[in-house]
């Protein structure tokens, strides 16, 4: 049932190739004096199914243990390893090397707009602070039912897209408005507001819209679609932001 490819490789052997990683390094000075970032290049041997994360691990485990990045699940669900790969925000564990142009060095940088702590690690606190501000939890009034609240499949579908968010910050840190204005809530916070505003069980929509009507709220969005392109979960982020804007005007949600 399997066709054996005519290749110099042995049967079943995964083709391997060499790639160059060009990583933006930043080592903080422990005494607190300023240091500058610099580029380091590493050659690694990669295989057909390897991801950028595998290449980074190879560097860390075999060449330079001081290379620092976050990672956990390694298959795109925990949101730890958002980084800027060849100038685009992606998850390192979801970007296959073979899908990149390997004839040139692959550039890897920390995501933009958040303070860099070390190498590819940024301070996520400002990002989570914006998330917390939009009241990212179900708000209800009155007595709780004894069993579950009813919700039709259509009502559930209404906010399905924005429930997929893994808070990796790929969207927010791809947004030019966020780069220049760190006060802006950013796409991820708005996505999480959307998830509740359009949940038929939630009664906190008006409060959230009030928060997002702020001068640093949804109106700062310039609809550049960077966020939609960056989202590793395929969420239509810009569309969600537009829906929140529309809800603010029409008060229909």
């Amino acid at each position: 049932m399997t066709a054996v490819a005519e290749a110099p490789a042995k049967v079943g052997e995964v083709p391997s190739f060499e790639v160059t990683l060009k990583v933006l390094r930043y080592l903080p000075d422990e005494s607190g004096s300023p240091t500058v970032a610099h580029w380091d290049e590493f050659r690694v041997q990669a295989h057909g199914t390897d991801r950028v994360l595998d290449a980074l691990h190879q560097v860390k485990w075999q060449q330079d243990g001081s290379l620092t990045f976050r990672r956990s699940c390694a298959h795109g669900v925990c949101g730890s390893d958002a980084m800027r790969i060849n100038g685009r925000n992606r998850l390192a564990c979801k970007t296959l090397l073979k899908d990149l142009d390997i004839s040139k060095p692959i550039t890897v940088e920390p995501i933009k707009g958040l303070p860099v702590i070390k190498d590819l690690v940024v301070d996520m606190e400002p990002f989570f602070a914006s998330y917390r501000e939009i009241m990212p939890f179900l708000i209800t009034t009155g007595n709780e039912p004894t069993k579950e609240r009813l919700q039709s499949a259509t009502q559930r579908e209404r906010f399905d897209d924005t429930t997929k968010c893994i808070l990796c910050a790929a969207c927010t840190s791809s947004c030019p408005v966020f780069w220049t204005d760190g006060q802006y809530f950013g796409p991820a916070a708005i996505v999480n507001a959307h998830r509740f505003i359009f949940d038929s069980r939630d009664e906190g929509g008006a409060q959230r819209l009030e928060i997002l009507n702020d001068k640093e709220g949804v109106w700062r969005c310039r609809t550049t679609f960077n966020c939609t392109e960056a989202c590793p979960r395929g969420i239509e982020v810009t569309k969600a932001i537009q829906e929140v804007k529309r809800a603010m005007i029409t008060r229909a949600f």
Partner: protein, 616 residues
């Protein structure tokens, strides 16, 4: 060094830790210490669902769920605990819905339910629809929902803090507890990743919720961060680990990668086929076929491959066939896992079967607790103020093989119970005095590794460990293979004592933390292998080719692994006193460098069900 004081300290911010925090933080002053941002925890990778006998779509009841859990665990389940879990499952699901979890819905707007491996109607008659789910991202939704509630309740988190020591007033790994004295927890020592600073947390109650240890294996569905930290911390203090030889290999990992493809794929109608296109599970489990429990399916798959019916150029995997399902149905119910197949293997599941092979998935064993979440230091006595919940713990609701969805249930039911117990204890107890300079040993150990000029590489030792565990302690085991694994583990432990890291800095030193985690992995591997070597039978996830049958007469007991000092002159003999039963087949001691692993056993709690032959 900084010192903090909290009534309750919870270690770990996955599902169990956050569920505990939601209970504890409303009652007493609570801190959650987590080595990751909470939303990075591996609960988020769980896919298929959470079972509860809601009977929303067909007849069901918690007693059937209890039975399935007991039988699924090959009768090594403590039946009182399984009954608690199955009963409280219903409220656990409803609690999550009320917190906002977006479950899939029935046409009537109620929580939808689907079939899952080993869950049956009326004691095995046919598969039952019991799993409550949100597409194939149920764990993601649970993790997000619990974190949302923690934000709402303003739970205090210490993110990216690594707990490196558990503080107790009697170190059981160092010597006997004087007769009549209790053992009390006093806190934990943690390391702040961002700064390298040490923090001592004094606490009246400590809840361990650090998750599993899948990284002892090479092929695993587990995150890089699942290194058995909590289990190893307890074990190093002489707290026993229970049933560590029982490790679950999930049947459907993406071949070669180990990435999990949910059992929901088979719950929704997916079929496993060998290279001949045969639906081979019909031969192994004629009644429920592809929905047999995971241990049976994983073994059947490995057997197909061994007998030459594997697919692919190397005949080393089998195929998960979804091609007969409607693409719209796949998109609605299994969107994430089909995307994994596309992203990582370039396979289109609408039209091509997906290569799969078993992947190390779940530790059934762990730190022994009772149904209130209290940690046991032998068969009966508890450590006062210490609790554990989730994969790190062994209640034991999973026995020798966990049923699919019962882990998401476990974290919710026993996370909640532990949080309540910990808070109640803390509201009456007083702080136990910390030892003098509580962080001294930990700091010395860390500094030794960090400053050692050169030596063994962490990655080399870890790779060797994972390779020997995959080769010798996986789906099929023998005395010979396990002996080889034990020799390897001992040799690697020796190499580990010369480990060195390249990153010598103090800030965000993940190189150093990987070394610490490797130390935990080596400890866990030792308990897995020794337990497996001693259990001369096959039961659930533990299959010994040299002893292929279950042996209730000798082994219908939980294994307990105790770290104890080497026998010294004038020392009382271990194994005759407070460390539980050491009779018969469990009278076994393994000497390691500087300590010994003393095995013991604990009786299985049986209430309703007598062991029967396990057929599906």
């Amino acid at each position: 060094m900084q010192t903090h004081q909290y009534d309750v300290v919870i270690v770990g911010a996955g599902g169990a830790g956050m569920r505990a925090a939601l209970e504890s933080s409303t009652r007493v002053r609570t801190a959650v210490i987590s080595k990751l941002y909470p939303t990075r925890s591996h609960t988020g990778a769980a896919q298929g669902g959470m079972c509860a006998a809601l009977a929303n779509v067909e007849e069901d009841n918690w007693e059937w769920h209890t039975f399935d859990t007991v039988k699924g665990g090959d009768y090594l389940v403590d039946q009182d605990a399984a009954e608690v879990m199955a009963k409280e499952a219903i409220d656990a699901v409803l609690d999550l819905e009320k917190m906002g979890l977006p479950f899939n819905r029935t046409p009537e707007g109620r929580i939808d339910q689907r079939r899952f491996g080993g869950h049956t109607r009326n004691h095995g008659e046919a598969a039952v629809r019991r799993s409550c789910y949100a597409a194939d991202r149920t764990g993601h939704m649970i993790l997000q929902t619990l974190y949302q509630q923690c934000v709402k309740n303003e739970v205090e988190f210490f993110n990216e803090f690594y707990v490196l020591d558990l503080l107790v007033d009697h170190d059981l790994a160092a010597g006997h507890v004087p007769d009549g004295e209790e053992v009390n927890v006093s806190g934990v020592v943690a390391y702040e990743l961002a700064t390298g600073e040490i923090h001592v947390f004094q606490a009246k109650s400590v809840v361990l919720a650090t998750g599993g240890a899948g990284k002892i294996f090479k092929t695993t569905s587990n995150a890089h961060t699942l290194t058995g930290d909590g289990m190893a911390l307890a074990y190093r203090r002489g707290i026993p680990l229970e049933d560590m030889e029982f490790f679950q290999f999930h049947p459907t990992g993406l071949a070669g990668l180990g990435i999990l493809l949910s059992e929901a794929a088979r719950g929704e109608g997916g079929i496993l086929r060998n290279s001949e296109g045969e639906r081979f599970m019909e031969r192994y489990a004629p009644t429920i076929k592809d929905l047999a429990p995971r241990d049976i399916v994983a073994r059947s798959m490995a057997n197909e491959v061994r007998e030459g019916r594997g697919a692919g150029p190397n005949k080393d995997y089998v195929l998960l066939d979804l091609t007969h399902l409607e693409p719209a149905h796949i998109d609605a119910k299994l969107p994430d896992i089909t995307e994994f197949a596309r992203t990582y293997l370039g396979i289109e599941p609408y039209t091509e079967p997906v290569p799969v092979y078993p992947t190390a998935h779940y530790a059934m064993g762990g730190i022994p607790t009772n149904i209130e979440g209290e940690v046991l230091r032998n068969s009966t006595d508890v450590i006062r103020g210490l609790y554990a919940a989730g994969e790190v713990a062994c209640v034991s609701v999973h026995g020798s093989n966990r049923l699919g969805t019962n882990s998401l249930l476990d974290i919710n039911v026993f996370g909640k119970r532990s949080g309540i117990s910990a808070a109640q204890y803390a509201s009456t107890a007083s702080f136990v005095e910390l030892p003098e300079d509580p962080a001294a040993t930990v700091v010395a150990g860390l500094e030794e590794i960090r400053t050692r000029p050169d030596g063994e590489r962490v990655a080399d030792i870890r790779k060797a460990l994972q390779e020997t565990m995959d080769a010798n302690a996986q789906v099929f085991r023998t005395r010979e293979s396990l002996t080889a694994a034990l020799d390897d583990v001992k040799a690697l432990q020796k190499r580990f004592r010369a480990v060195s890291v390249q990153d010598k800095s103090r800030m965000f030193n993940t190189d150093l933390l990987e070394a610490v985690e490797l130390g935990f992995l080596l400890d866990i591997a030792e308990t897995v292998v020794v337990g497996a070597l001693n259990r001369d039978e096959s039961r659930g996830g533990h299959f010994r080719e040299d002893f292929p049958d279950r042996d209730d007469a000798n082994y219908m007991r939980h294994t307990m692994a105790y770290r104890r000092p080497l026998p010294a002159e004038g020392h009382r003999q271990w194994g005759t006193d407070q460390d539980g039963d050491h009779e018969g087949p469990f009278a076994h001691t393994t000497v390691f460098d500087g300590y010994q692993l003393v095995l013991g056993s604990k009786p299985v709690t049986m209430t309703r069900y007598q062991p029967m032959e396990r057929k599906y």
